[in-house]
Amino acid sequence: MTIDSQQQTTSKFRWGEMDEDDDFDFLLPPKQVIGPDENGLKKTIEYKFNDEGNKVKITTRTRVRKLASARLNKRAMERRNWPKFGDAANEEAGSHLTMVSTEEILLERPRAPGTKADESKATGDGLSQLGKGGAVLMVCRICHKKGDHWTSKCPYKDLAATTDAFIDKPPTGDSSTMSAAPGTGKAAYVPPSMRAGADRSAVGSDMRRRNDENSVRVTNLSEDTREPDLMELFHPFGAVTRVYVAIDQKTGVSRGFGFVNFVSREDAQRAINKLNGYGYDNLILRVEWATPRPT
């Protein structure tokens, strides 16, 4: 076996004398390098003959990561090995004084003055039209988000059921009597949500009312903060039905506080726990229940 491979490798290759049928088994395919992709993964495919003379394909996957390359001169290299002194003498290498920021900070280009003024004007108008359910700007009647979607396209359409339930709610006593009624006879029409055996449970009727008990007040907002920012910040904790940021009508800046209504109380509680004291746009947020905290 070994003699064969030796012969193969040592024989001079003269392609003019080779027949077309000869296989070029002793030739190895070229090495392939699939360069580092955006994650830094590099794949190298090499072909070799192993000890038994078999052609072997070797695939190597490496991750190429570029550290902050410090091209240090000789003295700087020496300095890297200096012993720690002073207050640092007692600490281990993994000290938590130095940490990489969790936020990506960019060199923010300054906004042209024209665009900023337009932005604030638009939001001001939107808010004033909220009461009318203005058609000029898209205001969804369910979640009251301006300029995002029409009522029919509301992502919180499930809330529509609760609004209906709310409308029916005032005669609370009536609803219970009404559900009793179908049992006796088809005296009056009973909507599906209120029939006996309807999959509603107390949650359905209470959902709307509790929603305002799931209201969270956020204070110490920066002057640029608007509803979409709060929505983005709070929706990871659960479904948010409504966000509101108090805006000073004259200047168009935020008055520094706002409200977020969650669908579920637990989500609101989690949001309060996580976001109270959170640094957002260089201010420390205060997040708490909007009403006096119920027990």
Partner: protein
């Protein structure tokens, strides 16, 4: 970019300085202990213990072997950078505000504040090679006309021929080192309107940058040509300027400021603009801002290789930023 946050100081930062090789960063704060960090990953290397008051300024020799610090405890101290050992103490009768090594590191300029019956002054001391030989006599003492006004910064001019001083009296002065005579000063209309807080020399000493507080709530700071003292450029911000820095690589200038802690509740700004603002040095236009500090920025420094910079704030944090590649391609 992802800045590296270094919380080694309990009190506000006052000054930051890189060494000439760009691998070490020295930070001074009001908490009495200047700290040494590695400039690439922000790892703390050591602290210099010995001062009894806020440390206002520091400078490091060209070979990064000696550190000089000026402190409010009325002393300036000379340290061995590697071991943290205190080599010598210059005693003054009043708090020291600014220190700067001369080219060659054989002289140092130290400014002192007004205190009781001592007027604010600029002292030049000779620095000996061997700390044993160090004497505390001043080679030269300069006095500004109004001795009651603080001299916030004093630096050496090109080739140590001049000393440039700037302070609370809003006037920038150029002194001759040999004779101690006042060579040049800025006048009322061209100069700053309020106290000058910071001064930064260009890498080649051909011009410098001063930052100042200003009554009009817009802070101007101007770039002066050292030899002849003419105003070259003016950069306007919306906030008082506490710190200035110039990029040694690109034509960028960085300003850091914010409000005085005491003024925050009385002014109607919702949140102080605590960002380091980048300006094009020649066009005088703002190119961007780097946010992140929770308090006014008091110190800025560029790494001599121009690829990173650090900022120190009232919040006690030092933020070390390594620039992304698109920073180097910024066009107005």
């Amino acid at each position: 970019m992802r800045p590296i946050l270094m919380k080694g100081h309990e009190r506000p930062l006052t000054f930051l300085r890189y060494n000439k090789d760009g691998d070490l960063l020295f930070s001074c704060a009001k908490d009495h202990t200047p700290t040494l960090w590695f400039a690439d990953n922000g790892e703390r290397l050591g602290t210099y213990r010995g001062h009894n008051g806020a440390v206002w300024c520091c400078d490091v020799s060209r070979d990064s072997s000696r550190l000089i610090t000026g402190s409010a405890d009325q002393t300036a101290k000379l340290w061995d950078v590697k071991s943290g050992k205190e080599l010598f103490t210059f005693k003054f009768g009043s708090p020291t505000r600014s220190v700067d090594f001369a080219v060659g590191d054989h002289l140092a300029v130290i400014t002192t504040d007004y205190f009781v019956d001592r007027m604010a002054a600029i002292h030049v001391k000779r620095i000996a090679e061997d700390p044993e030989d160090q004497v505390s006599d001043s080679v030269l003492v300069l006095q500004c006309p109004d001795g009651k006004k603080r001299i916030n910064r004093a630096v050496w001019g090109p080739l140590n021929q001049t000393i440039v001083s700037a302070g609370e009296d809003t006037v920038i002065r150029i002194w001759d080192t040999e004779t101690g005579k006042l060579l040049n000063e800025t006048n009322e209309e061209v100069g700053h309107k309020k106290a000058i807080t910071s001064l930064c020399k260009a890498a080649d000493d051909s011009h410098f940058l001063t930052g100042s507080h200003d009554k009009t709530a817009k802070a101007f700071f101007q770039l002066w040509d050292m030899r002849t003292l003419t105003l070259i450029k003016t950069y306007t911000t919306g906030v008082p300027v506490n710190a200035v820095a110039m990029s040694p690589l690109l034509n960028h200038v960085v300003l850091g400021g914010g409000q005085d802690a005491s003024a925050v509740t009385t002014t109607d700004h919702r949140a102080g603009k605590f960002e380091a603002k980048f300006y094009d040095k020649i066009l005088q236009e703002e190119i961007g801002g780097v946010k992140g500090h929770f308090g006014p920025i008091n110190a800025l420094a560029f790494n001599p290789d121009g690829k990173s910079f650090s900022s120190g704030g009232e919040d006690g944090y030092v933020r070390l930023h390594h620039f992304d590649s698109d920073y180097f391609n910024i066009k107005i």
